[in-house]
């Protein structure tokens, strides 16, 4: 069977180009790491780059808003409105876990939901932080005695910041955001280790 050679469509061209680009990036990355390892510029480079990267991390946390229950109305729907305006701290809500830095869990996590939430957490790239918002996400809240309730998000994923309240006001989440900034500053997570 003879097939006529076809012009590649735009999508396949983008795919081929991006594969080329990724291969090129990998080569560049390896080259850069080799230079850092061999030469003496690593120390002065780190002195400039580490605080810069950390500053960038602190002021551009992109949250994955995992709104399960009523806390999702208070935080973050109210958080992004003109009154509280979370975007002035560089918080841009994203809908894909692969683009996010912090996971905001607000609401009751059921046993059926647990593996899905775990999977979303694993899809997020490092460095990542988890914020448990509201009594339900912290400990199960008023539904803790239920037959289908996971008693706290920290039973299956590590939580960095707890925001108590039922539901918490947006101001308390702003406070939590400053605490998270301190934590990012202290931990220096996500810095290039060569």
């Amino acid at each position: 069977m003879n097939k006529e050679p076809q012009e590649p469509g735009s999508a396949s061209v983008i795919l081929i180009r991006s594969q080329d680009f990724l291969a090129w990036m990998k080569k560049m990355d390896a080259c850069f790491k080799w230079v850092l390892r061999k030469s003496k510029i690593k120390k002065p480079f780190d002195r400039i780059a580490d605080p810069l990267f950390n500053w960038g991390l602190r002021w551009s946390v992109w949250p994955l808003h995992f709104g399960i229950a009523c806390c999702a109305v208070e935080n973050p729907f109210a958080l992004y409105d003109p009154r509280f305006d979370a975007m002035r701290w560089g918080m841009i809500p994203r809908s894909s876990p692969r683009q996010c830095d912090i996971l905001m869990v607000n609401g009751t996590v059921t046993k059926k939901l647990q593996p899905r939430l775990r999977r979303l957490y694993e899809q997020m790239p490092e460095p990542k932080w988890v914020v448990a918002i509201g009594a339900c996400a912290i400990s199960g809240g008023p539904f803790a005695e239920g037959y289908h309730v996971v008693k706290g998000v920290d039973k299956f994923i590590p939580v960095d910041i707890y925001v108590p309240g039922c539901p918490p006001r947006p101001e308390s989440f702003i406070e939590a955001y400053y605490k998270l900034q301190e934590k990012i500053k202290k931990e220096y997570k996500g810095i290039l280790k060569v």
């Binding site: 046993k111 059926k112 803790a144 005695e145 037959y147 289908h148 008693k151």
Partner: protein, 157 residues
């Protein structure tokens, strides 16, 4: 179109159907035996009851009661059918007559453990598949762990 009087007479004419009460002009309650369920469904479909709005199960410790709610969208008349069941008894499925009853029956199975014979897909609908207990039964308790927190379910009476 069937009016209220005609519906009452037709339902009464079925054997072993007991008319409990007529609450208002728009609401009828009947009590039937579980073997009559398919006959009742055929009859109701002829009378214009085209919607099975709810199937709820009630636990009376010694027996279950299923409450079927039918609704006639044209006549605006509701009919509740009460079916008594033993603890271990099965009940015929009406999902062949009312397609919407499929999910209601799955929910009754999920929460109360009532088995519907002839159901095309009797699986858990709200809880996950590996759950072994029926949480809305009266005998259901959560067993406490060492810290006094309710963790594992326990089936009582």
């Amino acid at each position: 179109m069937a009016d209220l009087q005609m519906i009452i007479e037709t339902v009464k004419s079925l054997e072993s159907v007991e008319l409990l009460e007529t609450l208002t002009e728009k609401r009828i309650r009947v009590k039937i035996k579980k073997g009559m369920l398919h006959r009742l469904c055929e009859c109701l479909l002829r009378l214009g009851f085209d919607h099975c709005s709810c199937i709820s199960a009630v636990d009376y410790i010694d027996h279950f009661t299923l409450v079927y709610s039918f609704w006639s969208t044209k006549g605006k008349i509701g009919l509740d059918a009460y079916v008594d069941l033993g603890r271990e008894e099965h009940v015929p499925s009406i999902s062949g007559y009312y397609g919407g009853a499929n999910w209601h029956e799955r929910e009754a199975f999920d929460m109360m453990g009532i088995v519907f014979d002839g159901h095309p897909n009797l699986r858990r609908i709200l809880l996950s598949e590996d759950v072994t207990y029926f949480p809305l039964r009266k005998g259901f308790r959560m067993q406490d762990d060492s810290e006094g927190e309710p963790t594992t379910p326990k089936e009582g009476t």
